[in-house]
């Protein structure tokens, strides 16, 4: 009988679910949003429908991401750092350094034989995260998903000197008013984020291959800026948003099988597919 495992990654912006057997059975990406924050069960239902299995068919479920404690039906919580490393290693085993640019966090992870050996995370400031780009996109009136492609037409990146998100927004509006072009501005925004992220990741000794994950990886302009700052080419996995959830599902399988080998039954969550009661 085929066994199914699930990884649920509740990020600050997006919720991701992967159902895994010995291959990926289904992946779902949906917005986390304020009202969805407690509704990981809804996203899970969609994933189950897609995989055409029932909740009871899942042998083990791991939650990750900053909202990992809000998944009552998960059997265990594991941090996104461990899950990203695991997920990416299962897709691209040659990768030794991961740069993850999420909505609220950015991080650098070094991996060896599929295990985390060191990591860095940004501090609580929004500079150097996806949120920074999101806010800037909003203030210049360009859809977030178009930022990357538009920036490629820039003649010269307009330097953004403020790292503070609020001040940078002022700076951009001023530059816009004084006639700077939108592509140049967007390229400047990407350069600013790339500078912050690369300075942080360089605290780890960067070893190739380098891969980028998270929402930031979907922005071609940002990836190019990051390649320039890091001085090496960067691999973007086919679906860079799901590596955390994928890693969680792979870990779910590994943990379950380890219990099985030891002749034990893993402790499962007693909650069914329900929404989180505690809102934190």
């Amino acid at each position: 009988m085929k066994r199914y495992f699930a990884g649920v990654d509740i990020g600050s912006t997006m919720t991701k679910v992967v159902i895994f057997s010995d291959r990926i059975e289904a992946t779902i990406i949906g917005p986390t949003g304020p009202e969805h924050r407690k509704l990981a069960n809804k996203v899970m239902e969609e994933a189950l429908n897609l995989a055409q299995i029932r909740f009871e068919n899942l042998s083990y479920i791991i939650a990750t991401g900053y909202g990992r404690i809000n998944v009552p039906f998960a059997d265990r919580q594991i941090t996104e750092i461990t899950c990203h490393a695991k997920g990416l290693h299962s897709l691209l085993p040659t990768v030794k350094t991961i740069v993850d640019i999420g909505g609220q966090d950015s991080k650098g992870i070094k991996i060896k034989d599929g295990k985390v050996v060191s990591f860095v995370m940004n501090d609580k400031c929004a500079a150097g995260t996806g949120r920074f780009i999101e806010i800037m996109a909003d203030s210049i009136g360009v859809p977030l998903e178009d930022m990357g492609i538009i920036s490629l037409t820039a003649e010269k990146a307009a330097p953004i000197s403020s790292t503070c998100t609020v001040f940078a927004e002022h700076e951009i509006i001023n530059k816009l008013a004084s006639g700077e072009t939108i592509p140049n501005l967007i390229a400047g925004i990407h350069e600013s984020v790339a500078t912050r992220v690369s300075a942080m990741v360089k605290k780890l000794t960067i070893e190739q291959d380098v891969a980028v994950t998270g929402g930031g990886a979907k922005n071609i302009g940002l990836v190019k800026a990051l390649e320039k700052k890091l001085g090496c080419s960067i691999i973007v996995p086919p679906e860079p948003l799901i590596t955390g959830a994928l890693g969680a599902s792979v870990l779910a399988k590994e943990i379950f099988e380890k219990y099985e080998r030891e002749g034990q039954m893993p402790v499962r969550s007693s909650c069914g597919l329900q929404e989180a009661k505690i809102f934190s």
Binding site: V116, F119, K124
Partner: protein, 386 residues
């Protein structure tokens, strides 16, 4: 308040931790004088010998700074700002004075603010040198004598060689007992949790030494009879940092699935690991203890030997703790803008990692505002070393 007196051991420590300052307030009401101090570099023996109650000032990580920022720039150490905020809000209304050492810039450069705005009857800036050579020891002896004369003037009590020796002996006894309590963390699992230990450390620093001695004795009795709880294999962690004084951080580490078994923090082992030599002339013995034995990042240690020898002189104690307490991972937790520790971070990290113990370096405010992010880092670190 009478309730606390009926409590014993850990229950009493818990109460003193929660209502920090309770006992000092009572003693003040009974006519004693209370002198505040702020760091491990304050010679509490002299305060005890003068008959005052030494009371270590602390902030509250759960309370936002609302008044202090009007007096101190935000580049000042978040701990110092938070304690000052508490002071200016009148939370230490029961102290008669305070002693502030020449230690880091955040203390030195704000000493006038403490002195001028708190308007205490007694204020002394203890001009501790930062190097440890012979002339500095001579200088340290002089500044200890100066401290003694100011506190004598304030209290009207003469500090004699005998009273100083007696105070030294009491504080050594207090240290010896605290180390015995630490010893109970050496077993696996440890007999006392990191959060319980934190409460004991905080309780002790708000008590006169003879009461601290009694409290620790009771706690040792409480703890040594315990049967160790076996709840699975957990990693043994050492916490390194400066003014960490809240169970919120120790709880975060332990709830993430680790045993917190040792510390190298200002209110912890730094206070209790080095005795004052009772066979030496007391002023010299105190000068040596605070200048040479106490390992703090503001004291510049140069052995005149190789880089490796200097590292051993500065951080050798941490490797000893790792061995004695069977430490498997270290968390180096530094407050933002703490430059003495900031400068030490790369050296401490590589020095510990060289003995195959991983180090998680965290930098944060003296506040719980980013607790969730800290948690993720700590959990990821524990997953990494699992």
């Amino acid at each position: 308040m009478a309730g606390i007196q009926n409590l014993k051991g850990l229950a009493k420590a818990e109460k003193y931790y929660t209502d920090y300052g309770t006992r000092a307030k009572e003693l003040r009401a009974q006519g004693n004088r209370v002198i505040g101090y702020i760091s491990a570099l304050s010679p509490v023996e002299i305060l005890t010998a003068s008959g005052v109650v030494p009371f270590r000032l602390k902030g509250n990580v759960e309370e936002a700074i609302t008044k202090g920022d009007a007096y101190m720039e935000t580049i000042v150490c978040p701990f110092v700002r938070n304690v000052f905020d508490s002071a200016i809000k009148g939370k230490f209304h029961f102290i008669d004075g305070m002693v502030l050492p020449h230690q880091c810039d955040s203390l030195d450069r704000t000493s006038d603010i403490w002195r001028d705005y708190l308007n205490l009857s007694y204020f002394h800036f203890l001009n501790v040198p930062h190097v440890t050579d012979e002339p500095s020891i001579e200088f340290m002896k002089e500044i200890l004598r100066l401290f003694i004369s100011t506190i004598e003037d304030f209290t009207g009590n003469k500090i004699t060689v005998d009273s100083l020796k007696k105070a030294i002996s009491l504080h050594n006894e207090n240290r010896r007992l605290m180390r015995s309590l630490y010893d109970l963390r050496k077993s696996n699992p440890p007999l006392i949790t990191g959060s319980e230990m934190m409460k004991v450390l905080v309780a002790a620093m708000g008590l006169p030494v003879y009461e601290s001695i009694e409290l620790i004795k009771e706690i040792i009795e409480d703890v040594k009879g315990r049967k160790p709880l076996t709840d699975g294999q957990r990693k043994r962690i050492m916490l390194i940092g400066d003014q960490i004084d809240s169970v919120i951080i120790t709880d975060t580490i332990e709830k993430a699935g680790a045993y917190l078994v040792m510390d190298d923090i200002s209110i912890g082992s730094k206070m209790y690991w080095q005795d004052v030599d009772e066979d030496k002339e007391p002023i010299l013995a105190l000068a040596e203890r605070y200048l040479r034995k106490l390992k703090i990042p503001t004291t510049f240690v140069d052995t005149g030997g190789t880089y490796e020898e200097n590292l051993n002189a500065r951080f050798g104690h941490m490797r000893k703790y790792i061995e004695e307490f069977n430490v498997e991972g270290a968390i180096l937790f530094i407050y933002k803008y703490c430059d003495p520790y900031g400068f030490e971070v790369p050296a401490i990290k590589s020095y510990i990692e060289a003995v195959a113990v991983d180090v998680l370096y965290l930098e944060d405010e003296y506040s719980i505002s980013s607790l969730a992010r800290m948690k993720t880092r700590i959990e990821a670190f524990l997953e990494m070393i699992a």
